[in-house]
Symmetry: C2
């Protein structure tokens, strides 16, 4: 896995994305304003970059649900919608998640930051979890 | 959408599934014991039934993350990992979710029941959300 981290959001996630970019040292793939847009466009763009570069990503919409559906449509993307640091850690340990999804209207900034930190700093456990991850594709 | 509701889990979700079957009036697609198994097998089986019958489903594993990744691999499945009733309601209103994912090790029984209830009893809002849902496929 490369160390590159991408971040993208729709309009509902725009403000939280702005708050997380520097903290996460992430490269911004838009949206670039609070104007209405469609989450699948941004999920697809980020998923393609993550797959091409074996990178990681963060996707933000109002609830995180739309982004997690759209991202997981892509073979090789394992997108985890997290509402707590524990979930972000489990997503890495057990599911080898390469995309973290957050719901901007539902999560506080400090919890969002904890999710990012534990997503970035937790290793995949492998073993029996690796067999299950292989079965996903 | 038909009124049929399916439910499935891995070993980690087995006990919560047992508690929810009657409450949700759901048809059980396994697993049928607490013996170790692989969540993608059960996510795939449920996804196929939901798609074939235009039904709805509930998927449960330890965190809900593995199930949500596996289910969303299927075109036409919109699986929402929920930790609160509000998320379940938003998943229906905005994403027309047809599968609810729950994390048995992270959610309490009353919150799980509230998620089921609001997942089953909330209508899709359509409108601009319908355009986005179309873009998922």
């Amino acid at each position: 896995m490369s160390n590159t981290l991408y971040i993208a959001s729709d309009h509902a996630g725009f403000a939280l994305k702005a708050e997380l970019i520097e903290f996460a040292q992430a490269q911004d793939l838009g949206t670039h304003s609070a104007e209405r847009c469609d989450y699948p466009d941004f999920a697809n763009a980020l998923a393609e970059r993550v797959l091409k570069e074996n990178a990681r990503g963060i996707l933000i919409c109002g609830s995180g649900i739309g982004m997690s559906i759209a991202a997981n449509r892509h073979k090789g993307i394992r997108a985890a919608l997290c509402t707590s640091g524990l979930e972000a850690e489990l997503a890495r340990k057990h599911n080898d998640a390469n995309v973290l999804c957050l719901g901007a209207r539902l999560i506080g900034i400090d919890t969002a930051k904890e999710c990012v930190q534990r997503f970035l700093n937790t290793a995949f456990e492998g073993g029996r979890h690796a067999e299950r991850v292989e079965k996903l594709e």
